[in-house]
Amino acid sequence: MSGRKAQALSALRRLGPVAVAAAAVVAVRQPHPACELTWPASSAAVQAAARAASPWLDPGPLRGWSRAGSGWLLRFQPDHGAWLLEVWVGDGGAAPAWRLRVADWLPGARLGPEAARSWLGDTEAVARELLGRRDWSGGGRTLAGGLPAGGELPRSEPARSGELAAVLAGLLLAGAVARRLAPEGRDPAWPWLVGVAAIGMVGLGPSLAPLGARLLAAEIRPAVAALAWWAGLAMLMGGVLFAALTCPTARGLRQPWLLPWAFVLGLAAASLWPAAWVAELASLRAAVPALAALAVLAGWLAGLAGDGLAALAATLGPARGLLLAAAALAAVLAGGPYAGPLLAAVAAAAGGREGGAWLGLAAVAGLLAGSLAAVCLWPAAQWAAWAGLAGGLGATVLAAGAVAAARVQSGR
């Protein structure tokens, strides 16, 4: 048997257990009815527009979306930005709820309390005096001057687990310090990968503007809100690129056959705690390149956090493995939405400085593909998710096989 055939057979033998594990993860995945979506934001927008949320003012085009409660919160705004229409469309297909936010300086009526109550109902109405009008609110409904402005809408739940975010930030800082204090052979691929991903993300900025919907407000033109979002993204990407250049990733991949297992770990994390925000990303037109760039950037950051964790764990000597296992267990049990990123960091730490970022990339790719499959149930997203799953598994096995073969050939 030729050497190449032997390598292929070896790769297939390695692929078997990984494929079985991946199939098991997919087969026994937990249902998450609270975050399973049957339509993207664009379909919800069509429904909202069709059901004529506010007949009073021209709502303008759809500018952005976010998840709020168990539904989509869609934001429509005309170019001048003098008002903002928010429409909430529940996942169950209930009637959309809406709220009109009007700039304080726009003129309108100054209704008396009796007139206001005729619209708000028999409730205690609270007036708000503005430059050219009087707004009323009461009983969950509002009036902008004499214009019905809808009622309160569900809001996104405030992010919990702030402590875990702080832990991740601390690990990133520790990783940066560890790489600067004890630099190892620089991997030339990573600066390029991170550079392309970061610049690509900045280039995709205008397409990603709907994700900055929280910046939209009455009185602020949507173009300026999009500019602020893009500028913030550019600053952030600049920071990541700077970090990639000054805190270089170590060259090599010490344990290549951990790569597919890291991907399966990401899949398992998504099965347990899917990233619900992936639906906002998947509703974009440029969803696939955005997800790919995000995977590269998050994978590199997971590698950095993993190096930080490894540097901290190294002080424990033989108990290092125990700490990593405890960190993985804590991430699974109490990680919540941070379980995936934390597990990716632990995987990167377990792989060691050489190749930790590749393991992080594999874990993050698994997490994203798994979350896409678990959360976004519309056909296009499902196709993308399964393609990502098969492609990710194949790519990690092939990469691992190639690295192992190269190592055999070089005699190391």
Partner: protein
């Protein structure tokens, strides 16, 4: 440096200060000096002699002033804001009771006197309107332009009160604006008068919208500064572990200076405490060649006047090209002289070390000094732009000033940039404060320190 050289520098500095001081003195808010006398006369005309000392305080709404300036371009808008628009005013309160509001140009804006024990007999109600109109004629310069819109009457503690609401049309204000006035009579004595302006929504809307947009655009700049601070933190820890030299004295001095400036500006400790520590640590770890020298501070302070020239020249250019740039100052909440100095130097001491020190220190190995220093320009340009129209002009004006500060930092390091920015902020903020020597002194202090630094520099 020889003694003769030092004497020459001090003499040149004194001459330069003597030339700059009258210009600075003209920047203060006018109207305060004569306000007390005018207020006494206004109350005396009502038959009320105010007792005790008077306290005058400037007040106003800068957004209203900017809306007027947008509606009437150039000096006409500024005159309206200080006059009939009532956006820039003085309030005089007498210790023994009574208070009067006057615009900067001396127009009576509001008035209230204590209720006399005997306010006179109640008016014959059907004639109350005529009496209110007659009373208004004594407190507005153009009574024929006003018409009575509504009269309210009520009894309180045995006294009959009358309140007349008048509409004055636009008068000298731009089209779509409206003047309103209220006259309040108790018995037959005028006890209260107040004028108001109802602006055209679109004029105010442009200004308010622009202010909110620039507030939003500040967020990415803060993200940028946050990234810089994190990067400096990682670099700083590395430096400490590797036993690189730490300049404790400049770091502690910077932190202390920020503390003093923050306390003088009147903000809570939470708003500057963490920044004082961060900037102190940053300066302690900054390479010495980036920190700058005493001489750098000295000439940086005078270069700040160049930055003032660029800022004001840019405004003239934008206005000349048909854009809008606010002329009236941003009105501060605190008006003490030390508030002027504190607010001006606080932003200089916090932002310049980050933009002109940390960013070049971090990115210099990758981009060279100029490339790294220019990275700070877009961040700085988004931090405090004026609400100009069009929006790129607002950011462009600020970017031009940032470029001057980069040039100053190239020659004088962070010390020079801090001095230039402090002088720039002091002069640009000066018009928001009352006219008077304590404020002039606060605005000129940076330049005087600059002269001292130049005279005290060491021979190299």
């Amino acid at each position: 440096m020889s003694s003769a050289g030092r004497i020459a520098i001090v003499a040149a500095g004194v001459v330069a200060l003597a030339l700059v001081a009258p210009v600075i003195a003209r920047l203060g808010r006018p109207g305060g000096a004569g306000a007390e006398e005018q207020a006494r006369q206004a109350l005396a005309r009502l038959g009320f002699e105010p007792a005790g000392t008077a306290a005058g305080r400037p007040e106003g709404e800068h957004e209203l002033a900017w809306a007027l300036e947008r509606a009437r371009a150039g000096a006409a808008g500024r005159r309206l804001a200080a006059g009939e628009g009532g956006a820039l005013r003085w309030r005089v309160v007498f210790q023994g009771g009574g208070e009067v509001g006057l615009t900067e140009s001396g127009l009576l804006w509001s008035l209230r006197r204590p209720l006399p024990t005997d306010p006179g007999p109640a008016l014959y109600r059907p004639r109350a309107g005529a009496r209110l109109e007659q009373t208004l004629a004594g407190v507005v310069p153009d009574p024929e332009a006003w018409r009575l819109d509504e009269v309210q009457t009520w009894d309180e503690d045995g006294i009959t009160w009358y309140r007349g609401r008048f509409l004055g049309g636009p008068g000298g204000l731009p089209r779509g604006w409206r003047r309103e006035a209220e006259v309040e009579i108790a018995g037959s004595t005028l006890v209260g008068f107040a004028r108001r302006v109802q602006p055209l929504g679109i004029d105010v809307g442009v200004v308010q919208g622009r202010v909110r947009e620039l507030e939003l655009l500040r967020a990415p700049a803060l993200v940028g500064l946050g990234v810089v601070v994190l990067a400096m933190l990682a670099t700083g820890v590395t430096s400490v572990v590797r036993h690189r030299p730490v300049a404790w004295v400049p770091g502690a001095a910077a932190a202390a200076a920020i503390g003093v400036a923050g306390a003088a500006a009147g903000g809570p400790v939470s708003s500057w405490g963490a920044q004082a520590l961060a900037v102190g640590a940053l300066l302690a770890l900054l390479p010495a060649e980036l920190r700058g020298t005493r001489a750098g501070w000295g000439w940086g302070a005078w270069a700040g006047l160049g930055a003032v020239g660029v800022a004001l020249g840019g405004r003239v250019l934008v206005a000349g090209m048909g854009g809008f740039v606010p002329v009236s100052p941003h009105l501060p909440a605190e008006i003490a002289p030390w508030s002027l100095a504190g607010a001006a130097w606080l932003s200089a001491l916090i932002e310049e070390p980050l933009l002109r020190g940390a960013v070049p220190a971090l990115a210099r190995p990758l981009l060279g000094w100029w490339g790294a220093a220019l990275l700070g320009v877009p961040v700085g340009a988004l931090l405090h732009p004026l609400p100009a129209v069009p929006l790129p002009a607002a950011v462009g004006l600020e970017a031009a000033v940032q470029l001057v500060l980069v040039a100053v930092a190239w020659r004088g390091g962070v010390a020079g940039a801090v001095a230039a920015r402090g002088v720039l902020e002091s002069v640009l903020r000066r018009p928001g404060f009352p006219a008077g020597w304590p404020w002039d002194l606060a605005a000129l202090a940076g330049l005087a320190v600059g002269v001292a630094c130049l005279a005290a520099r060491r021979r190299h």
